[in-house]
Each structure stands twice: as structure tokens, then as C-alpha cells.
């Protein structure tokens, strides 16, 4: 910030007239209603003054203040304030200054204003987002500006966007040719704002097209057809993605249970709380290392595994081990544990805690205006597959995995084979719990972290494990993914509630057909 104010002096000399305008418009920012402020912002953006851009930026960030005594406009910079006009740094108490309030309307105005400046930026990403903002709010006055930028632009994707931006303006031109050309350009994009412009061309009033020109209407119609076709494809892909991502959430939530319940046979009602502990671990790490927010998730994964895993081991050693051979009783005891843990967390803090999403997981990978994949969900899909893969390897390819399976099938015989079943049991339960903890880290990125969070997942998790076939990790995977995808295809048609009910009925009926789940254990021993 010092930089831009430093270079300012020269401008002050160079264009006194505009400097005066700047000063007066700046003053109006601190007075009047939001609409008056919006006009001032617009006016400011048209002034050729290097201070405009940073001022608007500061304002958008909500860091612009007015000094109560004297009315100087200052930008907040940490503990002190910098005078916009003379670049001086002054210390005011919070009582001496008043924030220049903005609301959404003003934010939009600021955004557009900034966009008109930033379209000339040297940074491609800035130009891109500026164009995108301009598409949202077509403004005839800005056409020359955009056209200039369009001519200069080298990057095809951005150039195309700029073309769209121009078309969004041209489409309301008086000239039929221009309009037709605009329609043509718009037919190539799936940007929602552009599509809606096409739709507006098709609008009717009292049975008559509002658009006078039949040729334009026809062009718009065929363009819309083309666009809608594309959008349908994209929305299909999007739904599949939604389904897979819901599926991966289910998978993550269920996978630990697939160990503790599926492999060990413990009806682990405290599974949800293991997830919760993992999520709280993420929170704790962000609290302890606020400077490492970006890396916090990566630190939290092993940490949550250890925390939940350790708690799991403790539960196994103190409680579960008394209950082998009495699987139903584990339900009772772990339900008790679940109540206990919930209330424990509640005593620490009864409401939800805020887990921050690191920047690299925020936002979305935009394929185009109609299709994008949110990073957090992409991450979770990949992550869940990774966890599943590692687990399958562990269980199937290592001696420990073999021993885990042997112990759960016949604890006494495993002991007679020299396998220390108590040790393996603790480890297995710890593993299942630890994985639940990892799931908690991932889930903290999409949902709330609070004392109740475990309960949200426990029922779904059991459904998934059972639907897939108890004791079969691959079954758990397919169950989670298919439930996720089917749910997402049902939801738009019938709403979330009915979709969920349909899923439950579907599970009930499916089990009639395959009484031991999707990937049933087969063989003559099953019945015995």
C-alpha cells in the first residue's frame, strides 16, 4: 500500500482537476445513503487517478473509515490508519473513527467499478475475474473499454470471455446485425448470465415476443437449443459428481465402521463420536497453529488418526474386550460411550466450532460457466479412495491384516495359533477408530463440527456397511457410491426429504432381494 501512495505525488501535480474531483467524490463516500454512495463509487471509477483503485479495494474490504472529527477518509491498516489523501499514518482509537458501511448493493457497484479498472491489469487471473464480473452486469458505457481490452488480449480463454462480455452488451443494441452477431457469440458459451440474456430474447408479453425482430428470435431460439443441449450434458456430469461426492462422504464416514463393525463385529455406536473427535482435532490444530491454516488439514490427518485411534484403543481395552462373544452387548456399551463422549465435548463447548477451510480447498475448479467442481469435494473424493485403497492393502496383503481377520473369526483359535488376540483387537479397533478420526478431518471441511456431529453419521454409516455386505470393504465402497449417486439423481425430482425416504425404502427392498447385502459373503459357512 505504501508503494501506490508513494507514486501518488506525481499524479497530484499532474492532474489537479481530477484530483479535486477525487477529493469531492471521496468525501461523498462517507455521507448519505447506500444509493448515494453507489453513485459516488461509479463516479470515482471514472476518474483517472491512481488512488481510485486502491481506495475502492479498501472500501470493498470494509477497511475504509471516516474520522469523526474533521471527516478525513482513512484506510485501516492493522492498528493505525492511513489518510487516503495525504498518505499520512495516524493512530486513532476506535471511538474516533467510524466505519464507512457498505452493503451488498454497494459491493456490487464496487466490484463493477473495480472490474472496469482491473480489466487492464497485467495479471491474467485478475482480468479473467474482472471480465466475469462485467458479464454479470452488462454496461453499455464500458463497451469501448472492454473492446480495447479484447483487442489486446492474448489468452484465448479470456479473449473468448471478453467476446461474451461484449456480446452481452451488444445484444441490447439497436442494430439488428449487431444483435444477431451477439446471439451467435452467446450461443457458444454456457455462462449463466449469457444464457439468461438469450432467454430474455425469447420472453413473451401477452403472447407476443418482446423482441421485435423475428430473425433475432429465430437465431436466439436455435442458439438456446444448442446451449441447453450442452447444459444438459454438463448438468448430468454435475449430478454424477454430486453423487460421487456424497458417496465419498458416506464412504469416509462408513469406512471406519467397516472395520470395527464389519471386520470385528462390534456394533460400535460410538463410531460417530470418533469422527467427531477427529473433527475437533482439526479445530484444535487450527487454534494452536493459527499461522499454519493452509497446512492445518495435512497436519490434522495424522493427528486425528492418533487421537481417535488412541481413544479407540482405550475403549477397546477398557470396555469392548469384556464383550467379545456378545456382539449385541457392544451396542449397549458403545451407546453409553457415545453419550459420554458427546456430553464431554459439550461441557467443553456446547455449540459448534469454526473450522477454517484452507484456501487451496476453497472455491471450485471451473470447467465452464455451467460446470465446476468444488475443491473440497474433489479432495474428499480422492482422499476417500486413498484411504479405502490403503485399508484394502493392509487387510489383504499384510500379516497384520490376516491376523486381524483371523482374530475376529475365531479369537480362541487365533490365540492357539500364537496370535496375541488382545493386541490385535486393540490395534484393529484403534485402526477403525483412527480412520473415523480421519473422516472427521475431511467432514470438518464440509459440515459443522459440534457435539452432535457424530449422530448425523452413525445411522447412515451402518446403512452403508450393511447395504454393502458386512465384512466386505469393496461392498462398502459400492454401497456408498451407489447410494450417493442414486440419491443425487432422485433429489432434484422429488426433493431432499422424499429422496431420502426413497433411499431408505430402496435399501429395505434391496435387502429382500439380497439378504446379505450388495457383496454378500458367500459360501457354506455363512449359514452355520
Amino acid at each position: 500500500m505504501a508503494g501506490w501512495l508513494g507514486a501518488l505525488g506525481i499524479f497530484l501535480m499532474a492532474s489537479l482537476a481530477t484530483a479535486a474531483d477525487f477529493e469531492t467524490e471521496l468525501k461523498t463516500l462517507s455521507k448519505g445513503s447506500y444509493s448515494k454512495k453507489a453513485i459516488a463509487v461509479q463516479a470515482l471509477s471514472e476518474i483517472d487517478d491512481a488512488r481510485v483503485l486502491p481506495t475502492l479495494q479498501v472500501m470493498l474490504d470494509g477497511r475504509l473509515y471516516v474520522v469523526k472529527n474533521g471527516g478525513a477518509i482513512v484506510a485501516e491498516e492493522g492498528e493505525s490508519f492511513r489518510n487516503i489523501l495525504d498518505d499520512e499514518i495516524v493512530a486513532y482509537t476506535s471511538r474516533q473513527v467510524k466505519k464507512i458501511r457498505i452493503n451488498n448493493k454497494l459491493r456490487r457497484a464496487l466490484r463493477t467499478a473495480l472490474a472496469s479498472i482491473e480489466i487492464k491489469s497485467k495479471i491474467a487471473d485478475v482480468r479473467k475475474s474482472s471480465v466475469q464480473n462485467l458479464i454479470k452486469a452488462p454496461n453499455k458505457d464500458l463497451r469501448p473499454l472492454i473492446f480495447e481490452a479484447y483487442k489486446q488480449e492474448k489468452i484465448p480463454a479470456i479473449k473468448e470471455l471478453m467476446g461474451v462480455a461484449l456480446a452481452t452488451i451488444d445484444i441490447s443494441s439497436d442494430d439488428q446485425e449487431t444483435r444477431l452477431k451477439a446471439v451467435d457469440i452467446l450461443s457458444l458459451t454456457v455462462e449463466p448470465a449469457a444464457v439468461s440474456l438469450l432467454q430474455q430474447l425469447m420472453a413473451k408479453e401477452e403472447g407476443q415476443y418482446v423482441e421485435q425482430d423475428a430473425e433475432v428470435v429465430a437465431a436466439a431460439e436455435s442458439a438456446l437449443k444448442k446451449v441447453n443441449g450442452k447444459i444438459r450434458v454438463y448438468s448430468f456430469i454435475e449430478t454424477v459428481f454430486f453423487g460421487l461426492s456424497l458417496g465419498s462422504v458416506l464412504l469416509l464416514a462408513a469406512i471406519g465402521l467397516a472395520i470395527t463393525f464389519g471386520v470385528m463385529g462390534v456394533i460400535n455406536m460410538a463410531h460417530g463420536e470418533m469422527i467427531m473427535l477427529g473433527a475437533y482435532t482439526t479445530f484444535a490444530i487450527q487454534q494452536v497453529f493459527p499461522q499454519w491454516i493452509e497446512a492445518s488439514i495435512l497436519i490434522a490427518i495424522p493427528a486425528a488418526f492418533l487421537v481417535s485411534g488412541a481413544v479407540g484403543v482405550i475403549i477397546e481395552r477398557t470396555i469392548i474386550r469384556h464383550l467379545y462373544g456378545r456382539p449385541l452387548e457392544t451396542l449397549l456399551a458403545t451407546f453409553g460411550v457415545s453419550l459420554f463422549l458427546q456430553q464431554l465435548v459439550r461441557t467443553f463447548r456446547s455449540n459448534n466450532v469454526a473450522v477454517v477451510t484452507p484456501d487451496w480447498m476453497s472455491g471450485m475448479l471451473e470447467i465452464n460457466g455451467a460446470l465446476g467442481f468444488t475443491y473440497n469435494r474433489l479432495f474428499i473424493i480422492i482422499f476417500s479412495l486413498l484411504v479405502l485403497g490403503l485399508l484394502v492393502l493392509l487387510l489383504k496383503k499384510t500379516l497384520l491384516g490376516l491376523q486381524m481377520r483371523a482374530v475376529t473369526q475365531n479369537r480362541a483359535m487365533a490365540n492357539s495359533m500364537g496370535i496375541r488376540s488382545s493386541w490385535v483387537d486393540a490395534l484393529t479397533f484403534g485402526l477403525g477408530s483412527g480412520i473415523a478420526g480421519i473422516a472427521g478431518v475431511a467432514l470438518s471441511q464440509i459440515t459443522n463440527v459440534g457435539p452432535n456431529m457424530g449422530q448425523q453419521y452413525i445411522i447412515d454409516s451402518f446403512m452403508v456397511v450393511v447395504f454393502g455386505g458386512v465384512g466386505n470393504l469393496l461392498g462398502t465402497f459400492f454401497a456408498a457410491m451407489s447410494l450417493g449417486v442414486v440419491n443425487k439423481f432422485l433429489e432434484p425430482a422429488m426433493g431432499a426429504v422424499v429422496a431420502k425416504i426413497m433411499m431408505l425404502i430402496f435399501i429395505i427392498l434391496f435387502i429382500q432381494w439380497r439378504p446379505r447385502g450388495l457383496f454378500a459373503l458367500k459360501g457354506r459357512f455363512v449359514e452355520d
Binding site: 464383550l323 449397549l332 458427546q342 447395504f467 458386512v470 435399501i507
Partner: protein, 382 residues
Amino acid sequence: MKNSFIGRLIQNDKAARNTIMVLLAVLIIVPFLNIVMPEGSFLHVPTYTVTLLGKYLCFALLALALDLVWGYCGILSLGHGAFFALGGYAMGMYLMRQIGDRGVYGNADLPDFMVFLNWQELPWYWQGFDQFWFAALLVLLAPGILAFVFGWLAFRSRVTGVYLSIITQALTYALMLAFFQNDFGFGGNNGLTDFKDILGFDLQSDATRLVLYMLTGIAVLAAFLLCKYITLSKQGRVLVAIRDAESRTRFMGYRVEHYKLFVFVVSAMIAGIAGALYVPQIGIINPSEFNPLNSIEIVIWVAIGGRGTLYGALLGAVLVNYAKTYFTGGIFAEFWLFMLGGLFVVSTIYLPKGVIGLAEQLRNKRAAKKAEQASNQKVEGA
């Protein structure tokens, strides 16, 4: 037949006799103390307590129903709350209709919640509920038919073990979501409430409450005898055989699915009655009764009391619910979940057969000790 059965029961089965005695005692003594003892007296049982006991008895009835299917036939239903709630809704609908024009909108034809959601007329499935007999029939039929259809499908397909448990859970979960919906016509999340009277008797009056309490007691007693009869008959042995070795039982020629279906439906109907008795005493029925966690709790009552004993289920339900009442009031309010959770854990580890099994457990332990000591002495002597 029945007399002789009860006679034999009282003669031969000490635990059953005690259970019957206790039930009769609470049936007679509590009302006596409520009516006869003066208000200030230390022996007086306030109506508040009577209603509370009534609630416990409803839960005891529900636990009994679950014990019949779980304890004896090995069907671990994690959805028994659904049958309870359906019975409750059937009764609730009757009570709603009894409000008549005494609702807040004064609409004689429609319950309040329909009025403010702009319903124009009573939906078809509400027809008939202004008649008590009809509602009473539905108290049995709604859970009974659901259990029949569900059981017919599941048992025929040989869905067993956790698979069965989880689909019963899915069932109650689906019902919860459905009943939550206002469009469904059962009052949505708020459910049915603001009841005025039953068969013309004011629900808030002490006399009505006392009668309801006694009816509940009688229902528990009757259901206990019924379950006892079933489990003591040869059918009881078939049920145990199914629980222990389903496929072996089939090879003996028993149609396992018929047996399961029979007890499942009987159990669902008992649960429905429990729900129907619960609603007028508690004053509200809403979808949270369908919450899967509630159904899990029922399992816990039975387990704590002692699975497969019937009276254990009764005891467990009363104990756990009393503990809940006790812990959630007064100084424990903020810590009660610790206590309840702890109770569950401790009792599973130390009371594998429930509170009821405690005596047996002690007896066995003593016998084993004695036998060992005897043999050791012999060793020393030799």
C-alpha cells in the same frame, strides 16, 4: 384354560409370581395412596407421580414387546419405536378429533395445524378417527399390518441378523422423515398435541389420569401373561430354537418365517397399545418418537433388565427411565449423560445377563467357588 395356565404359572414360576404380585401391587396401592392419603401426607402419591409411573409402565410394555421378539426369537428390531409411535398416532388422531371446535381457530372440522396450513378438508386417512372404536382398532392394525407386511417380506427372504436390524432401523427412519413432513398430514414436526378429553373425560383431571394409569397397569399385566404363555408353550421352545439355530430348526420342519411373523406382529401390536396408552398420559405425539435412537434405547432397556426373561424387560424399562427422570432433574442436570452413559457401560460389563441375571450370576459364581474349594480341600486332604 387361562385360569389353569395362570394357576400353574403362579405355582411353578417364582419370578413370574413375583412379577404378577408387584404389578398388582402398583396397580392397587398407587391409586390408593393417591386418592385416600391426604395431600400433605408423606404417603400421598401426587398425580404427577402417578402419570410418571404411567409413562414408565408404557415403556415397560414396549420393552416387553421387544423382549418377545428379541429375547426369545432373536429378532433384534431397531425399529420398535415405529410401532409404538404408530399406535400413539392412532390414539393421537382420535384425541385430536375430540378437540372439535375447541382449537385455537375454533374449526370443528379440522385440527388446528390443518387450518393454518390452509387445508380445506379432512384428508381421507383421518376419516373415522372421531370414533373411539375405530381408533382403538387402528391402534392394533396400523402397527400390526405394517409389521405383517414388513415381516412377511423380510422373513420370507430370510433377512436375518444385523441386516434385519438395520432395515428395521431404515423403516423407522423413513417413517420419521415422512411424519416430519407437514404435507403428510400428521402435524409435521409438532405432531399432535393440545388434547382435551378422551371418551368425554377431561384428560387433565386427576381421575382420568388415574384411570389411564390403571389401564396401563392392566395392559402390562395382560401382555406379560400373554408373552409368558407364548414363551412357556412349545412355541416358546421353537422360538428359542430359531434364535439359536435357525436353519437347524427349519430342517426339523418348522416354518421359521411363520413363527417369526407371528411373534413380530404380536409384538408390534403390544408396542402399538403401549403407544396408545402413552399419548393421552403424555399429551403429545410427534415424529421424534420414530427417531432410530429411541428404538435403540428400547433395546438398551431390555438388555439392562435382562434379555429373554420378560420381567427383566419390565424392570429394565422402569429402571432406566427412572434413572433418566432422576438424573435430568435437580443437581445432576448437566452431568446426567455421563451417569447414564456410565450406567450402560458398567452394566454391560458387569451384568452380562442384566439386572435380573445378577442373582443367577452370583449364585453360579458361588457354586463354582464352592465346587473348586471342595476339590482343593480334597487335594489337600489327599
